[in-house]
């Protein structure tokens, strides 16, 4: 994978009818990267994609493609193709002609068109479907036609706007794997939009978490999951327990009246922070079981609920001030007293400053939903 910057968004701002959808957005996409824009509906991710595709013009800011400013370039002149949310296949054309659409416009000869269409259909596992009507296909098949129709033009960048949204869970999982394979094979840059955090974690090289028209964090799936930058990211990507606390000294954190060891340092003495603990990182101990710390220094709680979730049980542990979510492969009895043991590595500390900007944004989301335009 080459490390050249292919697309750069520089201070892109966009509003619809006075509602600001993107606020001075900066984003850089490397050549060959699989980037996912992740966020709740109305966060501006689809608008960002549509600006890159050329379907919306930014109000201000610049869009660069391979170093060239392309703000005003129409979609047909961009070396970018899109897989649309509801596929937008042409119902009056058969599968083969849908895929051939871009090639025919370029004036490719009939023989080459035929050859490349059948290659593409083979790639997406639809060999021999040329003469079928697109309306007779299942959702998953239509999805593949939409992908074939886009990549047959060999674009530098493929934009995918929640392409798996309309498929059922099993098919979605299959398509995730196939898209990832396709990306590795084609060495194209993929920019993928989704609100499904699991999809983002599974497929991406880089995840860009967005909310309220801004980028909250950009990083590898592992970084985003393990080191969320703020409360919103921690909450949106995966389940988490977020507890306010303070740092009495380096590598020590106090929350809910209990002091735990952690690995974070460099905070001011008694700085107010937020603690993130993933449910799967909480080890539940009965009285007398082995632990890293002495039992009397651990949080104690009561099992309130215990739900079977397939691979694990999801339990809510009541500790008086805070209800923890904990995952375990062992079910505990409701009403049992348990100790919460947490490995120092699994306690993630977030600065308060990032929380404050978040609460302001959450406030806006809740009290001024108009400003957060529905992306449809």
């Amino acid at each position: 994978m080459s490390k050249n910057e292919l697309i750069r968004l520089d201070g892109i701002t966009k509003s619809f009818n006075g509602n600001v959808v993107l606020k001075s957005l900066n984003l850089s996409v490397m050549d060959g990267e699989f980037v996912t824009l992740l966020g709740p509906s109305g966060c501006g991710k689809t608008t960002t994609l549509r600006i890159i595709g050329g379907f919306e013009m930014p109000d201000s800011g610049d869009l660069y493609f391979g170093g060239e400013r392309i703000n005003a370039l129409s979609p047909d002149k961009r070396n970018i193709n899109t897989v649309f949310q509801k596929y937008a296949l042409f119902p009056h054309l058969n599968v083969g002609e849908n895929v051939a659409f871009g090639l025919r416009l370029k004036g490719v000869s009939d023989r080459d068109v035929e050859k490349r269409v059948s290659e593409m259909l083979e790639l997406v596992d639809l060999s021999g479907f040329e003469r079928r009507s697109v309306t007779s296909l299942s959702g998953g098949q239509q999805q593949r036609v939409a992908i074939a129709r886009a990549i047959v033009n060999e674009p530098k960048v493929l934009l995918l706007d929640e392409p798996l949204g309309a498929l059922d869970l099993k098919l979605r999982k299959e398509m995730q794997v196939e898209l990832k394979k396709l990306h590795e094979r084609l060495k194209m840059t993929f920019i993928y939009v989704t609100h499904d955090q699991e999809e983002a974690l599974t497929m991406s090289d880089t995840i860009v978490v967005m909310n309220g028209g801004q980028i909250l964090q950009q990083g590898s799936p592992i970084d985003i999951y393990n080191e969320p930058a703020n409360r919103f990211v921690a909450d949106f990507v995966g389940e988490s327990n977020i507890i306010p606390g303070r740092m009495p000294e380096d590598c020590r954190v106090e929350f809910l009246g209990t002091v735990y060891d952690c690995v974070d340092r460099g905070f001011e003495k008694n700085e107010q922070i937020d603690v993130v603990i993933r449910p799967e990182d909480i080890v539940l101990l009965e009285e007398g079981e082995n632990s890293i710390q002495a039992h009397d220094r651990l949080l104690k709680g009561t099992v309130k609920t215990c739900l079977f979730k397939g691979v694990h049980y999801e339990m809510i542990i009541e500790t008086g001030d805070f209800d923890f979510i904990a995952h375990s492969t062992v079910a505990e009895k409701i009403g049992m007293q348990m100790y919460l043991d947490i490995d120092p590595d699994n306690i993630h500390i977030m600065k308060k400053s990032s929380l404050e900007t978040m609460t302001e944004m959450e406030y806006r989301l809740e009290h001024d939903p108009d400003a957060v335009m529905e992306e449809e």
Partner: protein, 268 residues
């Protein structure tokens, strides 16, 4: 049981009132004498006479010419208008659709008189010879009341279409015009044709607007028949009306068949 027979009788009466006159007219168009009440034998002589009457044939020609041209022009204008209105914001769209409905709701007599006054104004006051009452003014008038019908039959087709398809076409390298021609047009074509046929029947059907806006040498059949009924009532008219009725009936059947076919396709 009693209720059943009552409603059935009512329905039969309605149909008799609607269709008996037409059936009678059709039967008497084959009568061998001028009589409108006594059947004297089968003959095609009124049809023969009809086709030898140069005045009627001329009017028929004008009628068909104006109906076909008006239908074609309004197909273009109506489609363009539908595309434009469709891409507007909902509020302005509603406003324009309301304006579009005025020519259809407006009584023909008002439309005829106002158009005539406008043509006379343009011809006499503005000295534009083009607007002397004649074929061209007749055509303008027909286009005016035909276009809304085309617009209204194209608009639903556009609504059925996923507008992202247009974006998809642009995305795949089509220019604005190519996207319109290769993706939008094929999907609204049936609406345009239906609108055109509807416009054609509206033109054939019209008497009042034509009466005010045609010149002495561009009388349509409707206007001619209307004039004839004042002086001589010839059985030729029976024959003519029969032919016109059949022509319109065939067109209506075509429209219905097309809609039936389209709805069946949608179900599949």
């Amino acid at each position: 049981m009693k209720k059943h027979t009552l409603s059935r009788t009512y329905m039969i009466l309605v149909f008799i009132f609607m269709y008996a006159p037409i059936v009678l007219l059709m039967i008497f168009s084959f009568n061998s004498t001028k009589s409108r009440s006594v059947w004297t034998g089968f003959s095609l002589k009124w049809y023969a006479k009809l086709f030898n009457d140069s005045e009627i044939i001329n009017a028929l020609q004008v009628t068909l010419e104006v109906a076909v041209s008006a239908a074609l022009i309004s197909m273009i204008l109506g489609t363009a208008a539908a595309l434009g209105i469709f891409s507007l914001r909902p509020r302005s769209r509603k406003g324009l659709l309301w304006l579009n409905n005025i020519p259809m709701m407006n009584p023909d007599i008002i439309m005829g008189v106002t158009l005539m006054l406008m043509f006379i104004f343009l011809y006499r006051i503005c000295h534009l010879p083009f607007f002397a009452l004649g074929f061209q003014t007749l055509l303008i008038a027909h286009v005016t009341f035909d276009t809304p019908y085309v617009l209204l039959s194209v608009l639903p087709k556009l609504r059925q279409m996923d507008i992202r398809q247009y974006e998809a076409a642009r995305d795949l390298g089509a220019s604005n015009f190519q996207a319109l021609r290769k993706v939008v047009m094929p999907q609204i074509k049936s609406g345009i044709v239906t609108g055109g046929i509807l416009a054609f029947t509206m033109s054939i059907d019209d008497v009042v607007v034509s009466y005010f806006t045609s010149g002495p040498f561009s009388e349509t059949l409707g206007v001619l028949i209307f004039g004839m009924t004042k002086k001589r009532i010839s059985p030729e008219i029976n024959a003519l009306c029969t032919l016109m009725f059949i022509a319109v009936l065939v067109l209506l059947l075509i429209i219905n068949f097309r809609e039936f076919k389209a709805s069946k396709e949608r179900e599949e």
